[in-house]
């Protein structure tokens, strides 16, 4: 059974058909790459899956539940976590506090418990802090815990976003162009990290420009072009697909 299944999803912006009748499956425990030239509809499809936009038609199933058009926080509660292409850290919070927000779906304390500082909420708070540190350690940024996120470098902020998404212990991790702005060495580190995330049993859907990254880490790669899916296969087969070579790798 696929963890995520997209069935015939479409989205139109005015006269532009951004996504046209796209279907896609992401199997449990795999890494799926989603590539395509600029304007292919990758980001739109990503937004539809993560709940930031509602499709005009089609269905999106996550863990066998229909989630299309549902707000992002509901999908997050079901076990979906994401990063952002143009980084969205919480600049005035420390790196660790940023990652602690990732534990939101794994904790309960509300207004009253927070105000009364109940023993239960204190225990929970300690568990949140520990889990956040663990996620930061996994990503390799534990040393930055007390630094305000806004003053971190670009690559470090990417790390914070990743740790924040992982702190939620998601079933599905959505990565939106995670290599954007990274140099070659950082990209290679990222590829290893995605491999380790996969080993943890987290399913990954990665939208990416960087071909070497996607081809290296993905079990399957789907290719979008002008809103339509033109290929969906293991990396090697996709690289040899003449349509893909023509539209994506360029003449």
């Amino acid at each position: 059974m696929a963890l995520l299944e997209v069935r015939g999803v479409s989205k139109r912006f005015g006269g532009v058909q951004a996504v046209k009748d796209v279907s896609l499956r992401v199997e449990q425990g795999t890494v799926k790459g989603l590539i395509g030239p600029n304007g292919a509809g990758k980001t739109t499809l990503f937004d539809l899956v993560s709940g930031f936009r509602a499709p005009d038609g089609g269905e999106i199933l996550f863990r066998d539940r229909r989630i299309e058009g549902r707000p992002p926080h509901e999908s997050a509660a079901l076990g979906m976590s994401r990063t952002f292409q143009n980084l969205k850290v919480f600049p005035h919070m420390t790196a660790q506090e940023n990652v602690m927000v990732g534990r939101h779906v794994r904790s309960r304390s509300g207004f009253v418990a927070g105000m009364l500082h109940t023993p239960r909420s204190r225990r929970e708070e300690r568990a949140i802090a520990a889990a956040a540190l663990e996620a930061m350690d996994f990503v390799g940024i534990a040393g930055l815990a007390s630094v305000p996120a806004g003053s971190l470098s670009y690559g470090q902020q990417r790390g914070v976003e990743l740790a924040r998404a992982l702190a939620a212990e998601p079933a599905l991790l959505l990565l939106d162009e995670p290599a954007a702005g990274l140099n070659m060495r950082e990209t290679a580190d990222l590829a290893r990290l995605i491999g380790r995330i996969r080993e943890r049993g987290v399913t990954v859907l990665v939208v990416e420009h960087d071909m070497s990254l996607v081809m290296g880490v993905s079990d399957e790669v789907a290719v979008l072009c002008f809103g339509e899916k033109i290929a969906d296969a293991p990396p090697r087969a996709v690289q040899e697909n003449p349509d893909v070579v023509r539209v994506y790798l360029g003449e």
Binding site: P71, H104, A113, L116
Partner: protein
């Protein structure tokens, strides 16, 4: 660069005691009356500070909630139910001790709702109004939210002025003291002045403690996340709509409670408390104190409300607060107190290692 929370509370307690001792020593114990009133306004402003500085929402309706609290309490505790003593509902209230007899001015006896029951009713009403206003209105942002809450404030204000049962332009008076528990009551008698001063600022300290706890909790972190990057907060599972509504209701409830207490302290309430300029004043005080700074808001509120209540701004009272708001927005968008304290501390103190408790 910041003091520990215990040191902050200690400093605050010291300032409260110092103000009382100084005004007694200077033979101006009557200052305590205005300082006590200032404390109750501070309560309303602290809620607004949470809403504006931490949830990033503006409300020009805070005085409306203050008035809902004050008028509900005043109406219920002054309404004489003794003619309806036979009514089953009134009889039930009496049996449950929710309605209590007390002597009136002319030696007779009136039967009215007990202040505790009235306070609970006021808070429930304030919260219910906040929910029913917040659900549609919090979809709006920026100017639109400001206008919608302003409209709410205007409605409350005109209802207060236009309703005979609420005393119209005169408001309601003769509100009895609020006996919190035996020996401790919110009321304006000169004998109770010192006690009431400490009671009021003690309640402010309590509210401060609850709000500080909140902003350092999971919920507070989620509020900061909404403020920092709303999309990322949503993606991490934060139900931004529910959280904004919760904060709006909490801010409304602090104003409602403040209205109840000040009404008992003043033994009455008038329509000026519901006025839109009061809401503007609260927003101006939060702006002076600094967005996202509860201590800054508290200091600004204590000083500005005291000066205003002592009449230092004369006939230009409202103009002063309007002017303050304009100047702060133009020159100190982070708050005057925030700017000064940070600059001062940075100059005087050596930099501490990061990771200090906020």
């Amino acid at each position: 660069m910041r003091l520990s929370r215990a040191a902050q509370v200690g400093l605050f307690a010291a300032a409260v005691v110092a103000a009382q001792l100084l005004s007694s020593a200077a033979g101006k114990a009557f200052f305590l009356t205005q300082l006590t009133m200032s404390a109750y306004y501070t309560l309303a402003v602290l809620g607004l500070s949470l809403l504006m500085g931490y949830a990033g929402q503006i409300s020009l309706g805070q005085a409306g909630f203050f008035a809902i609290g004050g008028y509900t309490s005043a109406l219920l505790t002054t309404l004489d139910l003794s003619p309806q003593r036979g009514h089953p509902l009134v009889a039930a209230l009496v049996r449950l001790h929710l309605a209590v007899p007390r002597p009136d001015l002319y030696g007779g006896e009136v039967l009215s709702v007990s202040p505790w029951a009235a306070c609970v009713a006021a808070v429930l009403l304030g919260a219910a109004v906040a929910v029913s206003l917040g659900v549609p209105v919090l979809r709006l942002r920026g100017h639109y939210l400001a206008m919608a809450t302003l409209a709410f404030g205007t409605i409350v204000s005109s209802v207060a002025v236009g309703t005979q049962a609420l005393g119209a332009a005169d408001g309601l008076s003769g509100v009895p003291p609020f006996v919190l528990f035996p020996g401790l009551r919110v009321g304006g008698g000169a004998a109770d002045r010192v006690q009431n001063y400490y009671l009021a600022w003690g309640l402010v300290a309590l509210a401060m403690l609850l709000l500080l706890n909140l902003i350092h909790s999971r919920t507070g972190r989620a509020l900061g996340a909404i403020h920092g990057a709303e999309d990322a907060a949503r993606a991490m599972g934060v139900d931004t709509g529910a959280l904004k509504l919760g904060t709006f209701v909490l801010a409304a409830v602090t104003a409602t409670v403040a209205g109840v207490l000040l009404t008992h302290y003043n033994a009455g309430i008038g329509p000026s408390e519901a006025g839109v300029m009061k809401s503007v004043r609260y927003v101006a005080i939060v702006a002076v104190g600094g967005m996202g700074s509860l201590w800054g808001t508290l200091s600004a509120s204590a000083v500005l409300n005291f000066l205003s209540l002592r009449g230092y701004f004369g006939a230009y009272d409202d103009a002063v607060f309007g002017g303050i708001l304009v100047l702060v927005m133009l020159f100190f968008p982070d708050g005057i107190l925030a700017a000064d304290v940070r600059a001062l501390v940075a100059r005087l103190a050596p930099r501490r290692a990061p990771g200090g408790e906020a």
